[in-house]
């Protein structure tokens, strides 16, 4: 509870005993980076080094290679298959240690891996997936010589065409350890806890049902380690998450699956989900295949039946009705902050201001290009606006209404990299919510098979016990901890280059951005 800094007197004044603090002991999870290699035998590589029969096993390749591609294990006569994922490719020629050139017998060839072309898509190109895996493995960005483009995707618009205008040299030199990346989630000054998170992001809502309990727990433990949050989604609150209560957001959505007074009282933040970016206006839908006995028990539903969270809340027709909901939660849990999650229609700015006036602490806008669970394909790119358009619109409207510094604006729906985080903040958000990237860190290849049958073949977005067993909690936790560490490093690097001591200084600084498709000749604004 180190991050909760409400004066003792105020707490006693406002909090009834049953919601004063978490009842169960909270488990500690260390933030330390430890190597967490891929759980698969063969890693996907950009290039293939092929060794032919001319190899005389002279060992020259192993001698010159700086990256450990060639391995002759002690006691073995033949070289093992080259570790292709460690190879930096043709750029190695410039190093003077190119194994293909150095091999005296011409036994080595370097080729592009056809497999790599099958990996990824416009939003998540293969480079970004491989780089995210490297970050999750090592806790650091991949070495530059690998040439991975991990700052943006290849979608041709939005974040992918925005760049920072870094000065030639930082205006002020600031040590990395002096840079503050924390943000406050309660700006209302309403006597409720002033929760700060150490990084300007937290984990998005993924229910038990949409993902496995291993995935949920890994996210929760990483959130604990980094003093940030994860969200239960709308699928109930696992008892096994209770040791991490202080870092859990529980969601109240239209299906009210697993929502009980007792679960609402456990957490420091309760999120009302009105809509989600990947399927705005369509509600939630868990296909029957994934409604296993464990899921059904948690949701108090019948096994095997598809579960719908009908859109919208049947009790909300207006902002006043919304306020009634918020008051209900605030009364049940007197220490909780309220987050309101909405998607991005044309009037998203009005919705945000209305939500603020109803008493929310966090306005969470979710754009259409994210999403981790099942969604109709027609909804994914056709309904509501991408988050890049919505952030600035909401930020400006809140500022014009004079309430910008009274509410925390969180953006989500397509945040894939630390640069996306920084761009979202520069456009006007206080922080972001992430989802897909955590799953990629756990080994997701974005095959889009999360939704049906046994669910995710990679064991991440599944409720099938056999598939979920492909991953263990310790490994999953470490992968996400490592990813966060790498992201924070990148973010700190950006702030250093701008001479900023805190990430909060970056908010709304669109003057530091440029767009590759524009003339960029508008005068600097702030």
């Amino acid at each position: 509870m180190a991050s909760f800094s409400v004066p003792e007197k105020t707490i006693k004044d406002i909090l009834p005993e049953n919601t004063l603090k978490t009842i169960v002991p909270q488990e500690e999870v260390t933030r330390a980076v430890k190597t967490a290699p891929s759980r698969y035998r063969n890693e996907i590589a950009k290039f293939i080094v092929h060794r032919n029969l001319n190899c005389k096993r002279c060992g020259k390749c192993a001698e010159v290679c700086q990256y450990g591609v060639h391995v002759l294990k002690p006691g073995y006569k033949y070289f093992a298959e080259p570790k292709n994922h460690l190879c930096i490719g043709p750029s190695c020629e410039k190093t003077g240690n190119f194994c293909v050139a150095k091999c005296p017998n011409g036994a080595l060839q370097l080729k592009e891996n056809p497999l790599f072309k099958a990996l990824g898509d416009y939003r998540w190109p293969g480079d970004l997936i491989l780089a995210t895996w490297k970050m999750a493995e090592t806790g650091d960005v991949p070495p530059a010589e690998y040439g991975y483009e991990y700052n943006c995707g290849n979608s041709g618009g939005g974040f992918d065409r925005l760049r920072f205008k870094f000065p030639d040299k930082p205006p002020v030199k600031i040590d990395a350890d002096k840079i503050d990346t924390s943000i406050s989630l309660n700006k209302r000054g309403d006597g409720r806890p002033e929760i700060k998170i150490d990084v300007p992001w937290y984990g998005g809502g993924m229910s038990f049902g949409s993902v496995s309990n291993v995935t949920q727990l890994s996210k929760a433990r990483a959130a604990k380690a980094w003093n940030t949050f994860t969200c239960t989604g709308e699928g109930g609150y696992m008892e096994r998450m209770r040791p991490y209560d202080d870092h859990v957001i529980t969601q109240v959505a239209t299906g009210l699956f697993g929502v009980r007074e007792e679960t609402i009282q456990r957490v420091p933040i309760v999120e009302f989900k009105y809509a989600q970016g990947a399927k705005p206006g369509l509600g939630g839908h868990l296909l029957g295949d994934k409604n296993t006995p464990a899921v059904a028990k948690m949701r108090e539903a019948v096994v095997g039946i598809s579960l719908f969270s009908p859109f919208p809340f049947h009790s909300v027709y207006s902002i006043e009705d919304h306020q009634k909901h918020l008051d209900w939660i605030k009364h049940i849990n007197r220490r909780a902050l309220i987050s309101t999650k909405v998607s991005t229609p044309t009037d998203v700015d009005m919705v945000a201001v209305g939500s603020y006036s109803a008493g929310t602490h966090i306005v969470h806008i979710d754009g259409g290009y994210g999403g981790t669970g099942a969604a109709p394909d027609i909804a994914k790119k056709n309904i509501a606006m991408p988050i890049e358009y919505a952030i600035g619109r909401v930020h400006k409207f809140l500022a014009d209404e004079g309430v910008r510094d009274k509410v925390t604006l969180i953006a989500s729906g397509g945040i894939r990299s630390a640069h996306d985080v920084a761009k979202a903040i520069a456009l006007g958000a206080d922080g972001v919510v992430i989802g897909t990237v955590e799953l990629v860190a756990l080994g997701c290849v974005r095959c889009s098979r999360c939704e049906s049958g046994r669910g995710c073949p990679r064991g991440i977005a599944t409720t099938d016990p056999e598939l979920a067993a492909k991953m263990n909690i310790e490994w999953g936790t470490q992968r996400i901890i490592n990813l966060y560490n790498a992201w924070r490093k990148v973010l700190v690097g950006i702030l250093q280059r701008f001479g900023m001591k805190s990430v909060t200084e970056l908010r709304g600084r669109t003057d530091l951005l440029m767009h590759l498709d524009y003339t960029n000749d508008v005068g600097a604004k702030k």
Binding site: S38, R41, N42, E81, N113, L115, A118, R123, R161, A275, G281, L282, G283, H285, L287, P310, P312, H314, P345, T346, V348, V351, G368, G370, G371, G373, A374, A375, P376, D377, I378, A379, K380, K381, N382, I383, A384, Y389, R393, G414, T436, L439, V445, R446, C447, S448, R449, C450, E451, R454, C456, P457, L467, T510, L513, D517, Y518, T519, N520, V522
Partner: protein, 464 residues
């Protein structure tokens, strides 16, 4: 409560081996026969089914094409021998507009009649040309029904085709005494004739029966009609210039289409004399003069329905820098509003409508309803290889197609499109598709969003 529109469907499996996006799993030499790929890695049991596939040699490739692209076997192979790539046969399908992904999703809908659902969010480009440069809006609070997915059948997708009255007229206390005939369709879709490049007269019986099953209308060239009288209620004859009017059959139809031309008004009068109760649509090709011609035609009191038709990719016909159908439709729609005659005319639009979202978007841009043909052809496992010529081999074997298979696949596709239209309208908070027409307030356009958001920050777009 009025009867709800419901299309009866049942799964219709493909008759040709599937062509998947991924697959082409390649075993390099030195397999250890450990069976990791068979027993552990592939959660879809594709390898376990290998023997079944191999028994039927014509389907042997299907084993590979059913691959879901999860990389598990590749990454778990004991010796790292497996490789996967994008199927070149998949990439070869269609063209730059009718992409392999569109063909694949059309096949899936034709097989299952279900709305395609997938996980892991959106995978495509930020925006694109044509229909990809607009988004439909959604309503955070206002809903057409309060019953979520279970109430969506109360969203009306019906449209009226014909000339409407500018206002209600009363004659001897009877309303609408001088009203023109109207044709009501349960969804805003008409099956259009296939383009000359894809003309397959043997498909007409399938298309006609599909129109009957779905209770919409199919436009069929009167010279090619060989169906039964029972189907005529769902058929609109296209009567070419100079062709005789099939008088007896015409009296059993509700809609007829004629080409635009210098004597089109005389032709309308000629048809009306034979069958006064019929609605007549004029087919206007969207060439460089098409937009202006459609606007001009709408001024005539004799004109009831204008059917604007772009090329197969939705582009202006014959133009070097073509306008797209959605932009031409907006132009016509706006001009008719300015002339004060928009509500009197029915505007049907075809060409480039490849996905169900295109139907919703085209209606938002001003069409009352859309016409399609290529998606139905694709539903029959057509690869859009443009081999529909005598002497060429059709990979979908369309020359030997079974009528039940064809009708089933087309019906499934139309049902899936209808469901998706309802989904989008539900998200928008729209209760009637008639109200969606021209309601650009329920859409967002790339150019506008860019200008409002980034234009203010970064100046002018370079490609403007």
């Amino acid at each position: 409560m009025p009867e709800k529109y419901h299309i009866k469907t049942q799964p219709v499996p493909p008759v040709s081996p599937r062509i998947g996006k991924y697959g082409m799993v390649d075993w390099r030499e030195d397999c250890a026969r450990c069976h990791n790929c068979v027993k552990k890695a592939c959660v879809y049991d594709r390898y376990r089914q290998e023997a079944d596939y191999i028994r039927n040699l014509s389907d042997v490739n299907a084993l590979f094409f059913d691959c879901m692209g999860c990389f598990s076997c590749v990454q778990d192979c004991t010796k790292g021998l497996l490789c996967m790539s994008i199927n070149p046969e998949y990439q070869k399908m269609g063209n730059s507009y009718w992409t392999p992904d569109i063909i694949k999703t059309t096949w899936l809908q034709a097989e299952t009649a279900k709305i395609p659902v997938s996980g892991a969010g959106y995978r495509g480009p930020f925006s694109g040309k044509g229909f990809d440069s607009m988004w439909t809006d959604m309503s955070e609070i206002v809903r057409p029904t309060r019953d979520g997915i279970h109430g969506r059948e109360y969203i009306s997708s019906s449209v009226d085709i014909g000339r409407k009255l500018p206002y209600l007229a009363f004659n001897c206390n009877k309303t609408g005494a001088n009203a023109s005939p109207l044709v009501s369709l349960p969804m805003p879709m008409i099956i259009d004739m296939t383009s000359p490049a894809h003309t397959l007269p043997q498909l007409n019986p399938i298309i006609a029966q599909t129109a009957v099953n779905t209770d919409i209308i199919a436009i069929i060239d009167s010279r090619q009609w060989q169906g039964s009288d029972k189907q005529l209620r769902n058929i609109a004859f296209y009567i070419a210039d100079g062709e005789d009017i099939p008088k007896d059959a015409l009296k059993k139809t509700r809609l007829v289409e004629i080409p635009d031309g210098a004597k089109v008004i005389e032709r309308i009068k000629e048809i009306k004399k034979i069958q006064p109760g019929i609605v007549i649509a004029i087919r206007v090709e969207l060439t460089s003069a098409g937009v202006e011609r459609a606007i001009k035609l709408a001024e005539s009191k004799e004109v009831e329905v204008i059917h604007i038709v772009a090329d197969a990719n939705g582009n202006e016909i014959g133009a070097s820098k073509p306008r797209f159908i959605k932009d031409m439709t907006r132009q016509i729609h706006t001009a008719l509003i300015e002339k004060g005659c928009r509500d009197e005319i029915t505007l049907m639009a075809g060409g480039g409508i490849a996905l169900p979202e295109h139907m919703a978007k085209e209606i938002i841009c001003g069409a009352d309803l859309i016409t399609i043909n290529l998606p139905l052809l694709i539903s029959l496992e057509c690869h859009l290889c443009n081999s529909c010529k005598p002497g060429m081999v059709c990979p979908a074997k369309l020359e030997k197609i079974d009528i039940n298979y064809g009708v089933g696949r087309m019906t499934n596709l139309i049902a899936a499109w209808h469901d998706q239209l309802i989904e989008v309208m539900g998200a928008m908070g729209m209760r009637e598709v008639r109200r969606l027409r021209g309601d650009v307030g329920r859409a967002m356009f790339f150019e506008n969003l860019e200008e409002e958001t980034f234009g203010k920050l970064f100046g002018s777009r370079k490609n403007n």
